[in-house]
């Protein structure tokens, strides 16, 4: 009814300050919800992308027992057939084979356990961007013979630097203890200090020469055209080849999948906090508006306005405010997300610790259209739910309110 709309509209402007505050709350709630979810998503996504692109890749293949035990004789039995398969699958954008064994690193001052990773520089660079983690010296593409790159943490623990020598000791494929002397060509820093302490990189051909007569590989890292393809590709590989175990990044890094889950909970938690605050704000404002108008509503009921219409009149006010607030809020939020997804949000001042742990301090928020819709729907539903109570109180008003003396 047009008249109800008119009353509601004018009632909103009866207290411009109050309505504006409510409107601002809806806008701010929506904006904060969207931006927060965007930042959390962005943070998660960046972390995941970083881990995938620098190290884990979308999928990996190992000997079924290798990851748990790390022995050099647990290599991939049918390596060449598998790489042939990968070569011919168009979902695979690149792959790289790694020769890996657990062993010891020895410096003049101490000895510690590490995983020694022999990489093929050419295919590694095509597949991951781990080489970008070099903070000192060179990557393994240097001319230095028997080059090794080690993590910053390890270098510090052993008090060694670029140009120093270290000795790597490990068991070869024949179960014999072997060692070699390596020259530190470069120092890297990855996302995790733990990783930096426990991994060293050498060239796979030099590694293979020390391990035995055969070319052995313990890991194949695979990048795919899309992260979603990891599941199916892994399934097919496991079906096609025996004696190997292919896994997706989610399976390989429980830490990452937990992060994804945690991110989901954070999103829910934060949206809930914002929404509860919003709901109370609206409830309070609408109740105030109602108590002020008890007599007026009593009068309307007395002269013959139905309770349904009174309910609609009160609800219409909230609906108008909600629609206005939600529209403005979603537009502002979209603009902000669009802007920040290009420019990034610099969280440096809040995130010194996070940067130490290898988290980016520039966040590029990400939000899917489904998430926009969900947040919008939640704000709209919460706002309307919070208005139902005052509206129900409104229709319970006694018409005698109008007839009261004084």
């Amino acid at each position: 009814m047009k008249t109800l709309l008119t009353i509601s509209w004018r009632n909103i402007w009866r207290h411009p300050a109050r309505s504006s505050v409510l409107l601002a709350a809806i806008i701010a709630g929506l904006w904060a919800g969207v931006v927060t979810v965007g930042i959390i998503n962005g943070l998660m996504q960046q972390r995941i992308d970083y881990m995938i692109e620098s190290e884990i890749t979308h999928a990996q293949i190992h000997h079924p027992d290798f990851l748990a035990e790390g022995y050099s004789w647990l290599y991939i039995p049918n390596h060449d057939e598998i790489t042939n398969w990968l070569e011919n699958d168009e979902r695979v954008t690149s792959y790289t084979s790694r020769t890996i064994t657990d062993g010891m690193v020895q410096s003049p001052i101490k000895t510690s356990g590490v995983r020694i990773r022999g990489i093929n520089i050419e295919s590694e660079i095509r597949t991951t961007n781990f080489h970008e983690n070099i903070v000192e010296g060179e990557y393994l593409d240097s001319d230095i013979r028997n080059a090794v790159i080690i993590g910053q943490k390890l270098a510090k623990d052993h008090n060694v630097e670029v140009g120093n020598r270290i000795v790597l000791t490990f068991e070869d494929t024949g179960n014999e203890l072997t060692s070699g002397s390596f020259n530190i060509a470069g120092i890297f820093r990855s996302a995790s200090t733990d990783y930096d302490e426990r991994n060293v990189f050498i060239r796979s051909n030099e590694f293979i020469a020390l391990l035995g007569d055969e070319k052995v590989y313990h890991e194949i890292g695979i990048m795919l055209a899309d992260e979603e393809l990891a599941g199916p590709v892994v399934d097919e590989l496991n079906k096609a080849f025996t004696g190997i175990h292919a896994q997706t990044w989610r399976q390989l890094s429980p830490e990452l999948s937990m992060l994804v889950e945690l991110g989901g909970y954070m999103v829910i938690l934060i949206t809930m906090i914002i929404m509860i605050a919003l709901a109370f704000g609206i409830l309070n404002t609408m109740l105030m508006a109602l108590f002020e108008r008890m007599r007026e509503i009593g009068m309307l009921l007395s002269i013959g306005m139905s309770r349904l219409r009174v309910f609609n009149m009160i609800m219409l006010e909230s609906i108008i405010l909600t629609i206005t607030g939600a529209t403005v809020g979603i537009v502002l939020a979209t603009l902000s997300i669009n802007y920040f997804s290009d420019a990034g949000i610099n969280l440096e001042m809040f995130a010194e610790g996070a940067a130490q742990l290898g988290w980016d301090h520039i966040i590029y928020p990400v939000l899917s259209s489904t998430e926009y819709i969900i947040i919008l729907a939640v704000v709209v539903i919460i706002t309307l739910l919070a208005s139902v109570y005052p509206a129900i109180k409104g229709i319970r008003i006694n018409p005698l309110e109008a007839a009261k003396d004084g």
């Binding site: 009353i7 009866r14 009593g298 009068m299 007395s302 139905s306 007839a403």
Partner: protein, 236 residues
């Protein structure tokens, strides 16, 4: 047939705690065209009686018939609609929708009755002219004096073409001049259009203008006088 008829109407407030017998066995009839004042000391039950007749509150016992229909037993929603179609109200204050102009306030009740839009506008204008507010049709209540607001309320009450108009102390907040002016308008409507009015008042000058005066004391009718003959005013 009487427009309003009450039978042994009683109202007890707070029956369980401190019972207040606001009305005791009140039986009255109000006929079409009457211009009736209800008087009595404060607390004598005037407002209570008017609220019962207007279907705003339910009696503890007894019946209220409006045009032969028992309204005190009606369901709430039906009673609201009955009020809309049959009874006009003028309250002491808080009569008008503050965000509406005088014209919109008068039109509103007709919109609730779902009347024709064009007819509504025309009738609202006519009524505002009748109550002497032809120039202030677009003013909002805050821009009007107390007396003017009450006149808008009278116009609004009449707009719905009710069987009768109830007014509980319509002049209580007005200065003498505005009060007399409001009475002039009500009386003129009564005289020229045979509109039935029932109003309560403390004011002797207002009582003097009434044709019938019901005096209440302690919740009961103490006196019911026809002060001037009603012949020639369409009432037998």
């Amino acid at each position: 047939m009487a427009i309003v008829r009450t039978e042994k109407l009683s109202k007890v407030y707070n029956p369980d705690t401190v019972p207040v017998h606001a009305l005791r066995d009140v039986s009255i009839e109000i006929n079409e065209g009457e211009f009736t004042a209800v008087r009595g000391p404060s607390g004598s039950g005037k407002t209570t009686l008017l609220n019962m007749i207007g279907g705003l509150d339910k009696p503890t016992s007894g019946n209220v018939f409006i045009n032969g229909q028992e309204i005190s037993k009606m369901k709430d929603s039906k009673r609201i609609d009955f009020r809309l179609q049959n009874i006009g109200f003028v309250f002491q204050h808080y009569n008008l929708i503050p965000v509406f102009t005088a014209r919109e306030n008068v039109s509103f009740i007709m919109l609730l009755q779902k009347r024709d839009k064009k007819e509504i506008r025309q009738r609202a204008d006519e009524l505002l002219d009748q109550v002497g507010l032809g120039e202030r049709k677009d003013a909002r209540p805050v821009q009007l004096s107390g007396g003017q607001q009450q006149r808008v309320a009278v116009a609004r009450a009449l707009a719905s073409e009710p069987k009768f108009i109830l007014a509980d102390e319509p002049t209580a907040n007005l200065d003498t001049e505005s009060a007399m002016n409001l009475l002039d308008i009500m009386e003129k409507m009564n005289r020229e259009q045979n509109v039935t009015f029932v109003f309560s008042t403390h004011d002797q000058r207002v009582i003097d203008r009434a044709y019938r005066v019901i005096t209440m004391v302690d919740g009961a009718i103490h006196k019911d006088e026809i002060k001037s003959p009603l012949e020639g005013r369409g009432v037998s």
